[in-house]
Amino acid sequence: MTLVFDRLRKEYGQVVAIDDVTASFAPGLIHGVIGPNGAGKSTLINMTAGSYTVSSGSIVLDGKRLDRLKKYQIANSGVARTYQNIRLFDQMTTLENLEVCFYPTDVGGTWKEVLWPPYASSRRDRRREKCMEILRFFDLQGHADAEAGSLPYGRQRMLEIARALVCNPRVLLLDEPAAGLNHHETAELTARLAAQRSPDRITIIVEHDMDLVMALCDNIIVMHHGKLLFQGTPAEVQASTDVQLAYLGTANDIDDIRAAAQDRRAQLGIRTRRRS
């Protein structure tokens, strides 16, 4: 079973952001989504996760329509995501950011937690054990009790991915996980993402960093003006003149695409805190 987009479409008034995209994503693989700015990559992620509604077409996961569900129901169907602009729970600790992900499974025991302290602490210990495991996987255990908003930018990116992974999702959607990271951190990220690969998981990565995409992905989708322009293995994508045209307007080397992506990354400011 897979995740399937069938003639998926998104319109913002006159603007067609996604133009009848049909694609399917098999588990066990890492799927890359690339394309120039404004191609509609984030819109795809946002529709899959339920942040945006679907104008027409459908999104089906394991035979179940996702596009009719509410956002929290989609999350509870096993879809986890990160955001292009990091969205953590800033004033909660790193550990709490993960712990709260167990809400859907544990909320039924809330009153028991309130009235019966031993139950509360055993529940909390169980949750925290799983969280610490993921934190150790991302080498964040030293930050467990720090406020998420106070972590360095690179750690916040890692924490957001950790939060998406803590409940062992069936679908992992990453929107530009390497944006704003330095070379060292990008290498670390690449290694972690390769390590989280599992036979049941569908991983979809939207990314401008060509090195990361080429190193990590088994299958790449190229978006252009809301349309699915090309689909293939990294080698096929690198060889395609269509892809080069889409990115640069001329047929050029993949290295130029890389340079263009790098420029764009340099423009990305470090995240400012939303709170005053």
Binding site: S51, K71, R87, L88, M92
Partner: protein, 331 residues
């Protein structure tokens, strides 16, 4: 030893001393209260009622991050529950504990009724709509003469009693309120630390991301409104029983604003802060009574001063009851 090291060595001990001091003052106050003249006990009773209201409202404002300016409506629901069920008005004379239960349920129901229409609202919009809700409830009470006695209110409420023990003197209410405040504080604090409390915090920080990790924000918010309103309504029922008279005058917008101020000045999201905020905003006006017209000015200045020097409140969110206890036992 560097300055920093010296400070690090001294601070835990001195903060432990502060914790002890706070605790000792609280115990001394509680022990001394029964021997004070009735006037002072009444002031302390009203302080406890405001702390109770603060604990309730803090669930919505402090934990969930929703600015509710109509909290006084739930207080009114509780007070009028007692007034209607234990007075000659409808010639009903139900036992106090039963009325507390009824008031708690009615509070939860009104909390959810207010919660449903405002689910989509946040920030300023939410504040305005809840403010309107508070006013509507007061105006309804004011105009429903046949039931509520209108602006005249309802007088000659029954004396309360619990299992045959009469609760009538200010000192009786002091003990009752102390128990209720401690219980409500404990429940609120444990709720905050429960998984639901974490979800409230996530909604406060980023509602959309909270949905993204599978939190049904509708249910979580309604749970916050309901528990908050339940505590407010219980406070109202006890208030009614202690005054043995209720009228719409006690439930004006000013009351809501006062409770919000208490929370903000004391330390939003922190029960210890509410106690501190209530102590300042409720006790100080009493202390300054002699200065009549000057006291509002003085209070205003004090508030400006506090907001400048302690923008996160007197006791910040991070210093919760667990920290206080840990300091006391020296860990």
């Amino acid at each position: 030893m560097s300055v920093a090291e010296t400070l690090a060595a001294v601070r835990p001990r001195s903060s432990r001393a502060v914790a002890f001091l706070v605790f000792a003052i609280a115990i001394a106050l509680i022990a001394a209260t029964p021997f004070l003249p009735n006037y002072y006990i009444r002031v302390i009773d009203s302080l406890l009622i405001y702390i109770l209201l603060g604990i309730g409202l803090n669930i919505v404002i402090g934990y969930t991050g929703l600015l509710d300016l109509g909290f006084v409506a739930f207080y009114a629901v509780g007070a009028y529950s007692y007034a209607l069920l234990a007075s000659p008005q409808l010639d009903l004379h139900l036992p106090f504990l039963l009325i507390l239960l009824v008031a708690a349920c009615l509070g939860a129901i009104t909390g959810i009724l207010l919660g449903i229409p405002v689910l989509r609202l946040r920030g300023d919009y939410l504040a305005i709509v809840t403010l309107g809700f508070g006013e509507i409830v007061r105006i309804i009470i004011n105009n429903l003469d046949w039931l509520t006695g209108g602006p005249k209110g309802i007088a000659r409420l029954d004396k309360a009693s619990i299992l045959g023990i009469q609760i009538a003197r200010p000192v009786d209410f002091f003990w009752l309120l102390l128990v209720v405040v401690l219980l409500a504080g404990l429940v609120a604090w444990r709720l905050e630390r429960s998984i639901l409390g974490k979800a409230w915090a996530a909604i406060r920080e980023d509602q959309d991301a909270a949905r993204g990790i599978g939190i049904n924000t509708t249910n979580a918010k309604l749970a916050a409104f309901a528990t908050s309103a339940t505590i407010g309504s219980i406070a109202g029922a006890i208030f009614g029983a202690s005054q043995r008279f209720v009228s719409p005058e006690s439930f004006t917008l000013q009351e809501s604003v006062l409770i919000v101020l208490m929370i903000v000045v004391g330390g939003i999201g922190n029960i210890l802060g509410i106690v501190a905020g209530a102590a300042i905003l409720i006790l100080l006006p009493e202390v300054l009574r002699e200065f009549a017209e000057w006291r509002i000015l003085f209070l205003g200045l004090l508030m400006i001063f506090l907001i400048i020097v302690r923008p996160a409140g007197i006791v910040p969110r991070s210093f919760g009851p667990d920290k206080l206890i840990r300091r006391l036992i020296g860990k």
